[in-house]
Symmetry: C2
Subunit: 210 residues, 2 copies
DNA sequence: TTATTATCTTGACGTTGTCAATATTATAGT
DNA sequence: ACTATAATATTGACAACGTCAAGATAATAA
């Protein structure tokens, strides 16, 4: 934004992007400040003029993860404006797809490499944005009679817990899914989502997307 | 077991225990091979005669986490032999309490610091034990008409996803709960659990423990 | 008792996060 | 335009870390 056109131009965002790239190429273990600096073409100490320490860079990468999820949620709400059920199922699969495509970024985003969240207001704000969109979808589903009419906040916690837990367990070595082999992962996610519908369990209330 | 009575006696388990202690005192970031060795009273290289590398020690600590959860699940099943509903609710709260009491150990156990699970058969075996107990509880609940009569494996995935996701989101800075403040965490867990019951949402099917 | 193996120590190397000191470039004030 | 100041970047250093190599010590086997 305003951190531009000095020596490098926009080093801060370049560093964040370099970090995301390293995460996708080498995983969480490969992320180091010095490697990020090298990829951005600056000295090993240049990042310290944009991030207080490694934690701060990780917080920024985490914020970027929240932003990606948030923006996709906004798009989904616009695309399926009149179809709350579709919004919910698309949101759940978007979440899973992000974790499948960028597992290291997903882990860093949530895996509390950031200890003291309150020190990173941008991160908190973006997480708030994400939660806000989520509640809107849950609220719309409740108004449409798809989800139980409990407080939207509580229902959002439950639904997000299920989708987040499902996704986390899946990408962590597929600990469970590989061993159980009870169904393809997409169908299992639908099954999990269906637990939250008002009607009888035996019908599929959420269709598979695509 | 058989790795005993040499110079130190039982260094392998001592190292694992030292790692668990460091996790509880300094968190995930404070865990290093050299500190573990120092706490066990051996040189910085002694651990390499019991663990191939740091990953292997982390895998052992992760296995220990699975063992703790598994053994508590076994105890719960024995204690409430005739009450599947109680088994499920106690299991869920045991899970949350472990994460609250030992957040760093909980994170290490699941947070796939271990990349190639198949290289650690003990870890896979203990995770299988845990999943097995979980399925038994779910199966008992289904037979008692508490959970929907879907395949027990699929239902176990869903329920565990919800509990695990709920717990993960809670300890990761309480990202969501703190911001929503919709209800105390215990009540929210019960609410989440109730989503999986057969009957109407408006009744509480799982009581708060204690 | 000797040979062998398992266990542990010491020392070294490259990488990392971070601090201090210095240099360079952009902006502000005159 | 010119200087002062702040923002940005480099270089160098240090301790801590993971890991390898070489040697020492203690338990077991022959």
């Amino acid at each position: 934004m305003d951190t531009k056109k000095y020596h490098h131009g926009d080093l801060k965002n370049t560093l964040i992007q370099a970090g995301v790239e390293i995460l996708s190429e080498e995983g969480v273990g490969g992320l180091s400040l010095r490697k990020v600096a090298q990829r951005a073409g600056v000295s090993h100490n240049a990042p310290y003029f944009h991030f207080a320490d490694k934690q701060a860079l990780i917080a920024a990468i985490s914020t970027e993860g929240y932003r990606i999820l948030y923006e996709q949620l906004v798009m989904i709400r616009e695309t399926y404006k009149a179809d709350p059920r579709r919004q919910l199922v698309e949101a759940a699969f978007m979440y899973l797809r992000f974790a499948q495509t960028s597992p290291a970024h997903f882990k860093v985003t949530f895996s509390n490499a950031v200890e003291r969240e309150e020190a990173y207001p941008d991160l908190v704000a973006m997480a708030d944005n994400l939660i806000g969109e989520l509640i809107q979808i849950v609220d719309a589903c409740q108004k449409a009679g798809i989800l139980h009419p409990a407080p939207a906040g509580a229902m959002a916690v439950s639904v997000w817990s299920a989708v987040h837990g499902f996704t986390s367990l899946y990408i962590d070595g597929q600990s469970m899914h590989d061993r159980l082999k009870v169904a393809p992962v997409d169908q299992l996610l639908i099954f999990t989502l269906n637990q939250f519908t008002v009607a009888d369990w035996s019908e599929d209330h959420f269709p598979l997307p695509e």
